[in-house]
Amino acid sequence: MKILVCVSKTPETTARIAFTNGNTEFDSSGVQFIMNPYDEWYALVRAIELQEAHGGTVTIINVGPAENDTVIRKGLAIGADEAVRVDVSPRSALYVAKQIAEYAREQQFDIIFAGKETIDHNGSEVGAMVAEYLDMPFISFATTLSLEGERATISREIEGGEEVQEVNLPFVVSAAKGMAEQRIPNMRGIMMAKKKPLNVIPPVPFEDLAVATSYTLPPAKTAVKLVSPDNMDELVRLLHEEAKVI
């Protein structure tokens, strides 16, 4: 079985969010970058578990510049067999999806994993886009995935509950919490990762159609108004008259 895992590099979850260059770019100074948690904890680990159970290979793909190699190597250390990096700094989800789809089309993967969303752009778009480019079924926000022969049974998050779906290989799936448990790479994994193939390929030409051009920070929160624990009538009054939420 051939599995592809799409991974993204994002600022670390507690990173200070600021912008530079006239608020047109994320200010990465002093920021630590990580593999997008949904891609790493859930998509990648579940892909590796499936490979361990059913055989085959797990390939990581990232669309980004050479500095992303650190994040990609971590994925190899966790257990992916090989990696591909499309050497370009992308500006939109559609651009990323196009690059991934062009690579995947040649390779005929059985399952393509993505994370449920990235924690920077929060778009949740790439999985669906790759699926559409490749004319493959897509199941989003998967919390469990089991495989019997060619048939997968997948539960997915929906508003206020879950849905159980079935689909045959090949398909694209986006992974949410529940899919797998985070794995910490061990020393052997880290050593082996250095020898695993990381192929760098050029992008295919593609024009962006929607691009984030400027950023703002939300207005600063005013200081918290403390209410005495003995005076809940006052809190109710504030919620009604001041906040107007009840």
């Binding site: 509950g161 624990p229 109710v236």
Partner: protein, 322 residues
């Protein structure tokens, strides 16, 4: 034309559907065009969408559309958009909408913006629209340069507004392709507003000490008709069902009121709730980081404070009703 793809649940329209039509109507006004609604599968009362500004409702009445396969939905919706000459397609940023947005972008060769929370503007002819990013810690402005555009609307960011009356529903003849995804089971909590759509949310953390203590939180939620939620450790310990987990790895919500009880307010939790309009924090630890993100805070023992708040809210509700 702005085309809004309106979702139903078991054939019925719910609040997000009306929010979407309102957004579509106002977007159409910005662009100097009209808004039409597209309804897929079994639906009751589609004519009512006219009240929120749809000048026409198109209905593809095929029961195979009662369950969502993104491939099928995208094929039908993109055909409808082409047939009707819609340049902008808007959907909800829901589990269905998020599965579709990317597909529609590819099919319609459209620039897409996921999870918008403001109306688009035309600046010197350039289409710009804003959305929250970095887990609510920033706002991104997008420029969409393609002729066709697809947007998904963040829940509870536009309130439904009645601007007219019911309109005629027109059947749309579109071939519905066979799907490859089979829906086996839908498990939904009945009678409760799902978290992503809830206006009022009461949420509990480790401070409640155990699942057996959730009664006081449920009483509070019931007093104001709120939906209950929880923090990650609570879901991980199986004190509460996983679909109640809000935060970075759970779901992101933006209710009008978020009451956090016994939750310290780790940055990963805040990422899921910091777009709430008003935040109330109840915690015995005055140093809990959540107070920095709160509008109102109560420093005290939640086992005493929460029942008192419930009492006060019941009294308030009774006065309002009387």
């Amino acid at each position: 034309m702005v085309l809004v793809l309106v979702e139903t649940q078991k054939g019925k329209f719910r609040k997000p559907a009306f929010e979407l039509v309102t957004y579509g109507y106002q977007t159409a006004q910005v662009l100097g065009t009209e808004c039409a609604a597209l309804v897929l599968g079994t639906a009751e009362g589609a004519e009512e969408l006219g009240k929120y500004g749809a000048s026409k409702v198109y209905h593809v009445q095929d029961s195979s559309l009662d369950t969502m396969d993104s491939q099928v939905y995208a094929a039908v919706a993109s055909q409808a958009a082409s047939q009707l000459g819609a340049k902008v397609v808007v959907i909800n940023h829901s589990s269905t909408g998020k599965s579709l947005l990317g597909r529609l972008a590819v099919r319609l060769n459209a620039g897409s913006v996921a999870g918008v929370n403001g109306l688009p503007v035309l600046e010197g002819g350039v289409f710009k629209v804003k959305k929250p990013a970095f887990s609510g810690k920033a706002i991104s402005e997008y420029e969409v340069t393609s002729d066709a555009k697809v947007l998904s609307l963040m829940g509870n960011s536009f309130q439904p507004k009645v601007v007219g009356g019911p309109v005629a529903v027109e059947k749309l003849d579109i071939d519905v392709p066979a799907g490859r995804v089979v829906s086996r089971e839908m498990k939904r909590v009945e009678g409760v507003t799902p978290l992503p759509e809830a206006e009022l949310v009461v949420s509990g953390g480790r401070g409640l000490k155990g699942p057996e203590n959730w009664g006081i939180l449920e009483d509070l939620a019931e007093a104001i008709g709120a939906t209950t939620a929880c923090s990650r450790p609570v879901a991980d310990a199986d004190w509460r069902p996983h679909h109640e987990h809000v935060g970075q790895t759970g779901i992101a919500i933006r209710p009008n009121l978020y009451i956090a009880i016994g939750i310290s307010g780790a940055i990963q939790h805040l990422a899921g709730v910091n777009n709430s309009q008003t935040i109330v924090v109840i915690n015995k630890d005055p140093e809990a980081p959540f107070f920095k993100a709160a509008d109102y805070g109560v420093v005290g023992d939640l086992f005493e404070v929460v029942p008192r708040l419930t009492e006060a809210l019941r009294k308030f509700k009774a006065e309002q009703a009387g």
